[in-house]
């Protein structure tokens, strides 16, 4: 595995200097654009400069990091220091859903939204304690590599690839969708074209240099996204509370929100049925679903191949552990700020929009209303005239905005904060660049995970084990392109519901991978038959629950004893199952269309289908345990192998030829 080349050794030693210069250069660029704005350069031009300059920088890094060496392509030569790998993982991890969507979710759901914040951070404990360092010691290029070695060959490898593919493809489609939304909003091009423009940016970074290129671009992208996320709320916090630490000062905003909620109820501006108190739990998710989401997201984290493979790139097992800690630290910086965004925006909406005369609305809102992202009285809030006309049609409307009149798209919260705070446009452009960096970096990592599994596991290990290096890398690149175009084509059809799609990816990975990974490392007695049976059973049950509740809910009710999910506050069913089942219109609707009232509203034990991993994972563990005990104990060599990966000392167990 000796791949040290003289030039790259200098590069590793000077990482601090290089990325320091880069960060300084980026800040300078933002200041420069700020000056351009002051001298009257139009906003549209600033938006273009932001997007193209940042994508160009990522592409240059990608091209400079091109490589023709297998270990560089798959695991960046295993030379990425812990702290930088942590930053790259942070960017890999935080997607458009985290950057743009999470604060909006917290705005709408209040406390219940924190299930996602907890679920998307706590899983790193499992990564470090149970899985990551052991896979690093093993020395795989991909997660299915481990499955194949530990569980007797290509059948286990193939199931591993199947799990990886279904989880990562669902996830990457959501990312490309997010890229399209941001690019279309800030560049003013149509969504379908924007999807493919974003894709070009993604491919430039990952095509030529594989893991090596993706690593060094992701670090650059992390710096952009964290600066972009923190800048607006730090300014807002300083302005309103005199302290530049929004994570500390938003406590005051929360107190104000709670007081305002009581006031709004008293003034008739909202009803008890509409209002979800910001700090009160279990208004959207029942306790089972709240804790279920936390659990599935956490365990899913420790099963997602694109995250686990990031820890294959560190120089040692020790650094792999440190790297997980750094990863979570860098992720934490964004996640513990998201609730501050939500609180500041909510206070602004509750005090300056709800309860105002229709003619007295603050103008920042209309730019989003024009795009259809904010509605008042059921119509796009494009201007004062538009909302006055819309509210006239509502019977008994008092002429002031009530909470039930106001509908906001969750994406608006982060993107509109600069305007709410009255900041110059350059900050809005910065936020857009940050959102783009978040979506691109995650898509990079996911596409690479898929292409690596197809080229390394399927092509090289299963189809042509004698393929020369050049052809393996060529196959990897071609597959990357094919998968990317496939995901973009799917994203262009706007499959929708990003949060749910991401949730499924986690559950699928959890049900398919987690039991086999854990038992493979922590239980020597786990056998090939047991693991293969467990993976099929767990993954199969998860897929079954997901597909039935979403696409064939009628069959779920008739044959599998599923019933309606319930409202956590009132306990009433979300849909009238008996009535819907009697309606021939819906019975003919197979697979269920989006309009089908039963779609995703039924299940077992009141469990949302995002939680399908919660059914599949325990079954997987049980099957592995029982089937393993029925068979013969694994060979002495296999047990020695498990001993070997438990000890950091010594080289990697698996030695790939270059």
């Amino acid at each position: 595995m000796a791949t040290q080349t003289s030039g790259s050794g200098d590069f590793i030693n000077n990482l601090g200097k290089i990325y320091g210069f880069y960060a300084g250069g980026f800040l300078l660029f933002v200041v420069l654009l700020g000056i351009l704005e002051q001298v009257g350069v139009p906003n549209r031009v600033l938006g273009y400069l932001f997007v193209f300059f940042t994508i160009a920088v990522y592409a240059i890094i990608g091209v400079l990091s091109r490589t023709a060496q297998v270990s560089e392509y798959y695991v960046a030569g295993r030379r990425v220091p812990a702290i930088y790998n942590g930053m790259a993982t942070g960017a890999d991890w935080m997607s458009a859903a985290s950057f743009v969507g999470m604060a909006g979710t917290l705005f709408l759901l209040g406390y219940d939204g924190l299930a996602w914040v907890l679920g998307w951070t706590g899983g790193y404990v499992l990564v470090s304690v149970l899985v990551g360092p052991y896979l690093r010691k093993f020395g795989a290029y991909t997660v299915p590599d481990f499955m194949a070695y530990r569980f007797g060959g290509n059948f286990a490898r193939f199931i591993g690839v199947l799990v990886l593919f279904s989880a990562s493809f669902t996830y990457v489609t959501a990312q490309i969708y997010g890229t399209g939304i941001i690019a279309s909003r800030f560049l003013g091009m149509s969504f379908e074209i924007a999807v493919f423009v974003g894709l070009a940016g993604i491919l430039l970074c990952s095509m030529l240099g594989g893991m090596r290129a993706v690593t060094w671009t992701q670090i650059a992208q992390y710096i952009v996204l964290i600066v972009a996320y923190l800048t607006p709320i730090i300014i807002l916090s300083t302005k309103n509370y005199g302290i530049p630490i929004p994570q500390l000062t938003y406590g005051a905003a929360i107190a104000d929100i709670t007081a305002r909620e009581a006031q709004m109820l008293k003034d008739g501006l909202t009803t008890a049925a509409t209002l979800k108190p910001h700090i009160a739990p279990f208004y959207t998710y029942s306790p089972l679903n709240f804790f279920g989401i936390i659990f599935c997201m956490m365990v899913g984290t420790a099963s997602l191949p694109h995250i686990l493979m990031r820890y294959f790139t560190t120089p040692s097992v020790r650094e792999a552990r440190q790297s997980v800690a750094w990863s979570l630290f860098f992720i934490f910086l964004l996640y513990f700020s998201a609730p501050a965004y939500a609180a500041f925006s909510k206070l602004e909406v509750y005090t300056n929009i709800i309860g105002r005369e229709l003619t007295d609305i603050r103008p920042w809102l209309f730019t989003w209303g024009e795009l259809g992202l904010i509605k008042i009285c059921g119509q796009n809030a494009a201007s004062i005239d538009a909302i006055v006309a819309a509210c006239k049609t509502v019977a008994g409307h008092p002429g002031v905005v009530r909470l039930q009149d106001f509908v906001i798209n969750t994406d608006v919260i982060v993107l509109s904060t600069p305007e709410i705070a009255g900041l110059p446009y350059v900050i809005s452009g910065l936020v857009a660049a940050g959102g783009l960096a978040a979506a691109l970096s995650t898509a990079d990592g996911l596409l690479l995970a898929i292409a690596n599994a197809l080229s390394h596991d399927i092509y090289y290990k299963m189809i042509d084990p004698n393929a020369p290096t050049v052809r393996r890398l060529m196959v990897a690149r071609v597959l990357l392109l094919v998968v990317a175009v496939g995901a973009a084509s799917l994203a262009a059809t706007k499959p929708g519901d990003i949060l749910a799609m991401v949730g499924w990816a986690f559950s699928l990975a959890m049900a398919g991978n987690f039991p086999a990974l854990i038992m493979g490392i922590w239980w020597k007695r786990a056998t090939t038959t047991g693991a293969v049976a467990g993976m099929i059973a767990g993954f199969g049950l998860c897929i079954f629950y997901l597909v039935t509740t979403r696409y064939y809910p009628q069959a779920g009710v008739s044959w599998f004893g599923m019933s309606a999910l319930t409202n956590p506050v009132t306990g009433a069913p979300l849909v009238d199952v008996a009535k819907t089942m009697a309606d021939p219109k819906w019975l003919a609707d197979v697979p269920a269309s989006a309009a089908n009232p039963l779609q995703s509203k039924i299940g077992w034990f009141g469990m949302n289908n995002i939680l399908c991993g919660l059914l599949g994972m325990p079954l997987g563990f049980l099957v592995i345990y029982v089937v393993s005990l029925m068979g013969k104990e694994p060979s002495r060599e296999m047990q020695a192998f498990v001993d070997e990966i438990r000890k950091p000392r010594g080289g990697t167990v698996l030695q790939e030829k270059d």
Binding site: G122, S128, G251, A253, P281, I294, R318, F336, P648, R649
Partner: protein, 86 residues
């Protein structure tokens, strides 16, 4: 079994540390949030404590846990001579 006594002792300590970490993970990930309504009665700097634990407290705990774990596990590896060379 061919496993040496040293390796067994190393693995036993590693497993103990694992269970401690899993215990803390369950506490900060789940148990503390089951008491959200009680904790929300305590308000610090405007933050109801139950809300704060889910928004920041548990996250800080996870980050600290991971740095401590990396250190402790390395100490165990060194104690039994199975750590990598520096």
């Amino acid at each position: 079994m061919a496993t040496s006594e040293n390796d067994q002792a190393h693995w036993k300590k590693t497993t103990n540390l694992m269970w401690i970490m899993i215990g803390l993970w369950i506490f900060f990930g789940y148990i503390i949030h089951m008491f959200v309504n009680v904790l929300n009665k305590i308000v610090i700097l405007g933050f109801p404590l139950g809300f704060y634990m889910a928004a920041q407290g548990s996250l800080i705990a996870f980050v600290v846990m991971l740095f401590v774990f990396a250190k402790k596990q390395d100490q165990i590896d060194r104690e039994f001579g199975v750590a990598e060379d520096d």
